[in-house]
């Protein structure tokens, strides 16, 4: 492995370059995007049109629009014309309001074969924009491993060959930060995007976005995890992206009304200061604050989503992770984020793998990672979870997909679908830490059964049926993927609305569109299909908006203003919605209201649905979900919650006492699957789609996205 900083500095060989004068930012936009063709070594600017801004706003919207133009319906994820597009939105990079440094990444996914979007913290997106680029388009494939360097200070973009042979993303980030910085002080001006060897060896590769943490004197990383974007990155022979920008001020976006932004910021900083300790405790626990709650409410995935809680859940509770995280240190992944939730475990000594015995900084675990790499594998050891989290990140593999697909493998193993002979000797029972960690290393390094596991669930199901004669129906029931993407880590069985939140999500079952479990299952606030459909319209649209702007969702509702509980629509956190309206108007000088905010999202959301259609997906049949997400698949699952399920059957007019458990499972399933079909009907109606899930022409027209090429796609499905 070539790891020396000096070696990186001296081995840099420029293959292509472009000098430019960084466009000044005006009202949140630079008005330019950077296009790089890796096959041709071409680097050139493009103009961001007014139409793009009006229709797609920015962030994910820009990513979708560029990708739409780049690919055809026949394009596959590993074709050269596929792109990775990275963009912050117009609000991205402000430092007055928490959670304003997100990058949005869009590509064709290796696991879904359709559109993937993933949002990520770290400094890259804001620095990219302040270096003069609203978006970065990466197309083509390089012949050799390359690094793209954007120097926003000098106005130069170079495509370089650099000797940097390591499959460990944390080292790539560290070395490149040090090599490109002129001094210790300069390190905070560098952000690196990279991945690890797992992205070469699996279809679930992720991208790490870095920033330098001067308090720890360490490089930190956040992850664009979902859907194999890192795998696309490595397929293009990209080793890393590096941006350097040293001119950060509070006003780089050149906002129209700075005071308006400041006012909103001061308000929420005070709320975080006053209430976080008695609300979510984001500053102490990050999103791991949910560990105890999810276990208490039977929502924590245990052993491949069979169960929602476990007596040993207390060993990986919120309090346990608080005790593991370094406290009383600023943990924002962008400047000005007083929510400070990207917790870390410092000086963690690794027990396994290529870095065994080394002490490292582990970013997280966040809730998703702790549930994915712990309870869902039947493992309740926090140190194991921290170690698995570290290795997923540095190998560059998605923690959520790794967690959900390992849980699937374990259930297959326990059911005799695969055995020790197939797994190369690994006894992959639930709870077997040693075997699970070994398989993780095999995935990261492309060895043994790890090569099969790295195919992810959809392809593994096909493989197990073809090679080992597995029952396809059973695998469909227990394989927690939809559209080819692994489920994120919440049990949705008892919440029909959340089943839709996962199943109807554009990119696949990720909770970033909607998290409705409390509103539905606990609060009983959305009892009718129409109520659920309204929630499945409003919340996905509202949350899509964060991805257009470069914003993080967490400050919206993981802190709440004092008077929120008095309000009719407390779940929407109306005061914070108004903050977002004010910030957008303050930056851009536009005059939107909360209704136009939703319309901005609707344009992009519906465009993404049509884009899915264009790629051969995006209809009712693609919104179907595995039954494990809807109810008890097995007798054992039913009997573990028999009182609850028997009670529900009584309400439906059955007499559970006179039925066998098999009969009860069957009628329960029939009922729940019917309910899901009715839910789809209601949601499609509310969203202005046909009963087959296709956006109607009048819907597209009303949103102003009825361009000829969009209409052409839709007409084929009406």
């Amino acid at each position: 492995m070539t790891l020396s900083v000096e070696n990186v500095r001296t081995s840099r060989k420029v293959l292509a370059e472009m000098e430019y004068t960084p466009a000044g930012i005006d009202k949140g936009y630079s008005g330019k995007s950077l296009y790089v063709n890796l096959s041709e070594g071409k680097i050139e600017p493009k103009t961001v049109t007014r139409e793009m801004k009006d229709i797609f706003t920015g962030g994910k919207g820009f990513g979708l629009w560029y990708l739409w133009q780049a690919v055809t319906p026949k394009t596959k994820w590993n074709d050269p014309e596929n792109e990775i597009v990275i963009s912050a939105g117009p609000i991205g990079g402000i430092t007055q309001y928490p959670g304003s440094g997100k990058s949005l990444v869009v590509t064709l996914s290796p696991t879904t074969n359709s559109i993937m979007d993933s949002n990520v913290g770290g400094y890259f997106g804001p620095y990219l924009k302040f270096s003069g680029w609203d978006a970065l388009e990466l197309q083509g494939k390089s012949a050799k491993d390359v690094v793209l360097y954007i120097d926003g200070d000098t106005g130069k973009v170079t495509l370089e060959e650099i000797e940097l042979e390591t499959g460990a993303s944390h080292l790539v980030s560290e070395i490149l930060t040090e090599a490109f910085a002129e001094s210790e002080e300069d390190k905070k001006h560098i952000s690196v995007v990279s991945t690890g060897s797992g992205a070469d060896n699996t279809l679930i590769g992720l991208l790490n976005f870095s920033w330098y943490d001067p308090r720890r004197k360490a490089v930190r990383m956040k992850q664009a995890g979902r859907g194999g974007i890192g795998t696309v990155f490595r397929d293009k022979k990209l080793k890393a992206l590096v941006v350097r920008f040293s001119g950060l001020t509070g006003k780089n976006n050149n906002p129209v009304d700075f005071g308006k932004i400041q006012k909103a910021g001061v308000k929420i900083h005070k709320e975080i200061n006053n209430f976080d300790d008695v609300q979510c405790r984001m500053r102490q626990a990050g999103t791991a604050n949910l560990m105890t709650t999810m276990n208490d409410y039977d929502l924590l995935p245990v052993m491949n989503f069979q169960y929602g809680s476990h007596p040993e859940g207390k060993k990986i509770s919120t309090e346990v992770f608080i005790s593991k995280f370094t406290q009383n240190i600023y943990d924002g992944c962008w400047y000005g984020c007083s929510m400070s939730c990207c917790k870390a475990v410092d000086d963690f000594e690794l027990k396994t793998g290529p870095f065994k015995g080394e002490k490292v900084v582990v970013d997280g675990p966040e809730y998703e990672n702790a549930a994915a790499l712990g309870s869902n594998w039947g493992i309740f050891d926090p140190d194991f979870i921290i170690e698995a989290n570290f290795y997923c990140d540095t190998y560059g593999i998605d923690t959520i997909s790794t967690g959900t697909m390992m849980a699937f493998i374990m259930e297959c193993y326990e059911n005799g679908i695969i055995d020790k002979e197939i797994t190369g000797g690994l006894e992959l029972n639930f709870g077997n830490q040693e075997a699970a960690m070994e398989l993780l290393h095999q995935m990261g390094q492309g060895r043994g059964f790890g090569k099969i596991a790295g195919l992810a669930i959809r392809r593994m199901k096909e493989f197990f049926v073809k090679e080992y004669g597995a029952d396809p129906d059973f695998l469909q029931d227990i394989g927690m993927e939809a559209k080819g993407l692994e489920y994120s880590e919440y049990l949705s069985k008892e919440s029909l609305a959340q089943q839709g939140g996962f199943g109807l999500a554009n990119k696949g079952p990720q909770h970033d569109e909607a998290w409705l479990i409390f509103m539905d299952m606990v609060n009983n606030q959305i009892p009718t299909f129409e109520d659920k459909a309204e929630a499945l319209h409003y919340f996905p649209m509202f949350r899509t908006w964060f991805g257009l702007q470069g914003l993080c969702k967490l400050p919206w509702n993981d802190i709440e203003p004092e008077g929120n509980k008095q309000l009719e629509e407390a779940n929407k956190v109306p005061e914070h919605v108004q903050n977002y309206v004010d910030i957008f108007n303050g930056v851009t000088g536009k005059n939107i209201d909360k209704e136009e905010l939703i319309r901005q999202s609707e344009r992009v959301y519906n465009f993404q649905r049509v884009f899915n259609l264009r790629m051969g997906f995006g209809k009712r049949e693609h919104d179907k979900v595995p039954y494990r997400s809807q109810g008890p698949v097995t007798v054992k699952e039913y009997e573990s919650r028999a009182e609850r399920y028997d009670g529900q059957l009584k309400e439906l007019g059955y007499d559970p006492e006179s039925m066998s458990t098999e009969e009860k499972v069957k009628v329960m399933r029939q009922h729940r699957e019917e309910m899901y079909e009715k839910l789809m009907d209601a949601v499609y109606l509310r969203r202005g789609w046909t009963n087959d899930g296709v956006p109607k022409l009048e819907t597209l027209k009303a949103l102003g996205i009825d361009f000829p090429e969009v209409v052409e796609v839709v007409k084929n499905h009406l």
Binding site: V278, Q279, T293, E368, W515, F518, V522, N524, Q525, A570
Partner: protein
């Protein structure tokens, strides 16, 4: 009986809001409680007695990753 979020829950004599939340295992830190439509502030949960037959809303403010 009382109704909690629309579902029947067995009533206990002298049941306070705090006791009800314990009984339901409602441990989430951001809950709004209304009894027969009237907001009960958190500082009163320990003392506020829920009447028999009451309609209780224990609204968990939305969260999630």
């Amino acid at each position: 009986m009382i109704l909690v979020n629309g579902k029947e829950v067995e009533y206990e004599e002298g049941m306070t809001v705090k006791r009800l939340l314990e009984k339901m295992n409602y441990t989430f830190p951001m809950i709004i409680v209304r009894v027969d439509g009237k907001l009960v502030n958190k500082e009163d949960w320990d003392t506020f007695k829920i009447p028999r037959g009451a309609k209780v809303q224990a609204l968990h403010q939305i969260a999630g990753g």
